[in-house]
């Protein structure tokens, strides 16, 4: 093969190749070129994003481990740590929705237990094109079934997530998976090789020709030739991973383990090189000892295979038998494939012959870093404020909003996920944040995933900041305090200056919001090249936030619970219909300015909400987001076990009725307060400087909404629930 062809096949530029030659002092052989190709790919090296990600706040008194390891670690007290991260599996899920999504979940779970944590919660963030397109129906069903198959089988509850439908995801669905685990604070394991002469073990599934070049695939735009990249699809084996999880945790309870790393993207190559580089050491492995699924695999294939459910570990010399015994108990093989060396090199042998020899640092730390050119996209100049016609029938519009797939109940999705296993779930999916209690302590953990591509498209900075604000607001709504965040940045082709500009602005937004709310980012993932045939997605940063509730019994749920409670709206409402769900659904457009965000106002709202929760003054709290106040009111009528409760609401506005109902003004939470607590509630609001407005009372079996004294909506609650509850299922059956 000519060099140019070989470089093209490896997704390397001529400059990158020259750098490789410089580092080696010679031409790389084919195996070595393969190593560099995956390690220097966008997916593994973050070469386009690194300079920007550096701006994110990553430190804080609770942060035990920031970005750079398999997952971030946050001190949650009681001697415990929360280990969590979110990761994308967009491209594989488009090619094969079930297996792509399933192996995405499998991968993020490995990232968590690699650190010594037992996984206790999963979430996922999904984006598809509209369900009117048959392909999207298959993608949704397939991805959900895949996620379910893996998470359920592992016995980890899926506590929440988000699902959004938008044209721009038609050929580029997004599948981001989050996992959180609990570990003893002083028993965190790192992927850092130590101790010359220590044995290196390979455990888990055998290596096959799966997913060779998966990492480079995630680093290139899709085109019609994607067909040819198809053999890269892998089949997940959650059963094997469950055994691997139990065996690894059992091994971690001994002191025979030095370091451990899962084999994810770029497989054996990435895990060995990273373990070596982090320890400043070398690693030598013999490929003939690597368990193989098929005969006749070449060194190149073994090195680059992305077979799932595999781990690499370094044990203490002399403790080999112990390691082997534990894996044997779980019916797993542990193969000693090499040892730690002092020379800093990744040396790969095949039948005793060296087939690759490269400095670990060159692969891991010395990859290219690009400051790609940026340019403000022209479409932003076209953003116009326009006169919208007011709907003639507000009630009908309201019902339509509830049936919008982005707003409708996601129960068809989350009921396919086991969300109760481990018997810790105290706020089930359907609320603002999922909450699990932590057995053996009085505390609970809250978590959620949020992002808004439409906002980010129209104002990347605001979109990034709003994702953080909304996620933290969801955490506050259940009564918890955010302690850490992770993010998955889904963008188009970074080689386009406009995309890079969106990226940089979104990162700045995330940074500013995280700083204001004191939430460090402890890890995350960047997914570029979400484009097919030149058509890209809206820039879609997804933020996952984890919060602490010191007293689990104080957790707040989102639905009205008692007759005769007073309904208050916390926060002011402006008429902000730009970029809203209402604008898109009813007027078929996505333009205007997304709602403004004032970080101080938001922070005050959140601490006020937390205090109300900790004093037990409210019966429910629900944050306002997609669809605004109207949708939040409706959602507050529906409990998770099918219970419903009506309300009578009176709103006032000097302007339009659709504005007050569907404006997506930020920094608002809807709450129901027993009348006996009203005075205390109002006094606290005053103290925190948060405007609150009494807008109605709970009770009955209808929803009555009056705007400026005129009846706008009067509907039976069960009828409303029916529409909201069944919309996605109906969309799928079409």
């Amino acid at each position: 093969m000519r060099l140019e062809e070989s470089l093209a096949a490896h997704n390397l530029t001529r400059e990158e190749y020259d750098a490789i030659v410089g580092k080696l002092g010679r031409e790389p052989n084919e195996n070595e070129l393969g190593l560099f190709s995956v390690m220097w790919s966008e997916h593994c090296s973050y070469k386009s994003s690194r300079v920007h990600l550096k701006r994110l706040p990553t430190r804080g008194p609770r942060v035990l481990q920031g970005p750079g390891e398999n997952a971030g670690v946050v001190d949650i007290g009681h001697g415990l740590a929360a280990v969590f991260k979110v990761e994308s599996h967009n491209h594989p899920s488009f090619i094969e929705p079930f297996q792509g999504a399933a192996t995405g979940v499998g991968g993020i779970i490995r990232d968590i237990f690699t650190m010594g944590a037992r996984p206790v919660a999963l979430m996922n963030s999904l984006r598809f094109g509209p369900l009117t397109v048959p392909k999207n129906r298959r993608l949704l069903s397939g991805c959900v079934a895949g996620i379910a198959s893996y998470g359920n089988s592992m016995g980890i509850p899926t506590l929440g997530g988000e699902v959004v439908f938008e044209d721009c995801y038609n050929l580029n669905p997004l599948v981001n998976a989050f996992c959180l685990g609990l570990a003893s604070k002083d028993r965190i394991f790192l992927a850092k090789a130590e101790g010359e002469g220590n044995p290196v073990f390979y455990v888990g599934a055998k290596t096959g020709k799966d997913g060779i070049h998966g990492a480079t695939m995630a680093s290139a735009e899709f085109d019609e030739a994607a067909e040819e990249k198809r053999p890269t699809v892998q089949v997940g084996d959650p059963f094997l991973e469950k055994l691997l999880l139990e065996a690894c945790l059992e091994l971690m309870a001994t002191d025979a383990l030095v370091a451990i790393q899962d084999m994810g993207a770029a497989g054996l190559t990435c895990s060995t090189a990273e373990m070596g580089a982090r320890g400043g050491l070398g690693i030598e492995i013999e490929l003939n000892r690597v368990p193989q699924r098929e005969a006749g695999m070449t060194p190149y294939e073994i090195l680059l295979s992305e077979s799932q459910e595999r781990m690499l570990l370094v044990a203490k010399a002399g403790r080999e038998a112990e390691v082997e015994a534990i894996f044997k108990k779980w019916d797993l093989d542990a193969a000693a494939i090499g040892k730690v060396t002092g020379d800093g090199l990744l040396r790969v042998l095949a039948a005793g012959k060296t087939v690759a020899e490269v400095p670990n640092r060159a692969l891991v730390d010395e990859g290219p870093v690009y400051e790609r050119p940026m340019k403000r996209p022209a479409y932003l100049d076209a953003v116009a404020a326009v006169e919208l016609p007011e709907p003639t029938d507000l009630e009908e519009t309201f019902v339509r909003m509830l049936a919008s797939h982005t707003i409708a109940s996601k129960h068809w999705i989350f009921e396919q996920y086991d969300h109760m296993v481990q018997s810790n779930t105290i706020v089930m999916p359907g609320g603002d944040a999922g909450v699990i209690r932590v057995k053996g302590t009085p505390m609970a953990l809250a978590m959620c995933l949020d992002g808004n591509g439409r906002y980010t498209y129209l104002d990347p900075y605001l979109g990034g900041a709003t994702a953080v604000a909304e996620a933290c607001r969801n955490i506050a709504a259940v009564g918890a305090t955010p302690v850490g965040a992770t993010n998955c940045l889904n963008f188009g082709n970074p080689e386009k200056p406009e995309i890079m500009w969106q990226f940089a602005r979104a990162v700045d937004g995330i940074r500013d919001a995280c700083e204001r709310f004191d939430v460090p980012i402890t890890g995350g993932n960047v997914s570029f090249y979400n484009e097919t045939e030149g058509k890209g997605i809206y820039p879609t940063p997804v933020v996952g936030v984890v919060g602490i509730l010191e007293d689990a019994t104080k957790r707040v749920r989102h639905y009205f619970r008692t007759d005769g409670d007073i309904v208050y709206l916390m926060g002011n409402t402006d008429e902000e219909l730009g970029a809203s769900e209402y604008l898109k659904l009813v007027h078929g457009r996505n333009d205007g300015s997304p709602p403004r965000l004032d970080l101080d106002t938001e922070a005050a709202l959140q601490s006020f909400t937390r205090e109300v929760a900790s004093r037990g003054l409210m019966h429910s709290a629900h944050d306002l987001s997609d669809g605004g106040l109207g949708v939040a009111i409706a959602e507050s009528l529906f409990g998770p076990l099918g219970e419903t409760m009506g309300a009578s609401i009176a709103l006032e506005t000097p302007r339009r009725a659709d504005g007050v109902l569907f404006s997506e003004t930020q920094s608002r939470i809807l709450t129901s307060v027993p009348s006996a607590s009203a005075d205390a509630f109002l006094a606290l609001a005053e103290e925190h400087g948060v405007p609150v407005k009494r807008i109605g009372v709970t009770g009955g079996d209808t929803l009555e909404i009056r705007v400026n004294g005129t009846s706008a909506i009067s509907k039976n609650v069960d009828d409303l629930r029916e529409v909201w509850w069944n919309a996605i299922e109906k969309g799928l059956l079409r």
């Binding site: 053999p231 699809v233 892998q234 089949v235």
Partner: protein, 83 residues
């Protein structure tokens, strides 16, 4: 038009990992019912279609197997028309 029966076998491509088959093989090993070298699991479909000839039936079933019963990314299929 008559009713014609067809069988479709859908299998994973040979290079694709089959964890289910592998797990079954492992279980059989423990049971010692005989020396089993490998197990691959697939799907079997029995279809009854209305067609005017075996050829037409085969055409219909092939199309169904390709578009609905199998996933060409991972799987291959075989069609057999019953006589």
């Amino acid at each position: 038009m008559t009713l014609i029966k067809a069988n479709v076998v859908v299998q994973l491509k040979s290079a694709v990992h089959d964890p289910q088959g592998e797990t079954i093989r492992h279980a059989l090993e423990q049971l010692e019912l005989g020396q089993v070298e490998s197990v691959r699991q697939g799907k079997f479909f029995e279809l009854t279609v209305e067609a005017s000839s075996k050829e037409e039936a085969e055409k219909i079933v092939r199309e169904i197997a390709l578009r609905v019963l199998s996933n060409p990314v991972l799987e291959v299929f075989q069609v057999e028309i019953e006589s």
